[in-house]
Symmetry: C2
Subunit: 100 residues, 2 copies
Amino acid sequence: MTLKEATEIGKCLSNQTRVQIMEWLKEPEKNFPPHETLKHFNDGVCVTYIQEKAELSQSTISTYLSNMEKCGILIMTRHGKWSYFRRNEKIIKQYTQFLE
Amino acid sequence: MTLKEATEIGKCLSNQTRVQIMEWLKEPEKNFPPHETLKHFNDGVCVTYIQEKAELSQSTISTYLSNMEKCGILIMTRHGKWSYFRRNEKIIKQYTQFLE
DNA sequence: TTTATATATCTATATTTATCGATATATTGA
DNA sequence: TCAATATATCGATAAATATAGATATATAAA
């Protein structure tokens, strides 16, 4: 992991809501209602559920999640009209190892 | 570690120079000249050396280091007119465990 | 005690980020 | 095809951060 990549991750983790989202996504089944279409959380949680729980506008949360995916800490999977986001544990591990 | 505390650390790690400083402080003897007064790096590196290497103004670096100490990732030790800064590995570990 | 040096703090301005509403795009279902 | 829904993107403005120079403070050295 380069300095630049680590800094991009740091920027995503410099806002309380975004850190909170990372925490929520550790346990989707505990923090979110079940999806109607997908019967599991294997691919994470859809934007709408995250937005409702965060209580910020849809556009704000969409931008957050997009940037968090761009820097690698989230993985997005599209199913039909839904975008599901989950943690990218591999990159998160690389980041924490970089810091230590 | 609380969400708030983790976010404060994230803010410190959201700037390339500050992340760079954290990296430099992993190996002070490799990245900085020896101090004239103190003959070791046990307490870290003085502000002036960090400032010169970072090539930003003294006030900027002083503020950076002060904030990094406030959120816990650095430890400051004062010796005479010098302030020495070193990594706080314990808090860094707590932070990375929080993220994982 | 005066002077020099290291660091901290204050004030100001430029830049970046936060956040929203509006709108565009994509997909599904009627 | 058309309407509804989910998400993404755009444009604007408010708030926060970056950064410097000036100045204050603390300590050491002369």
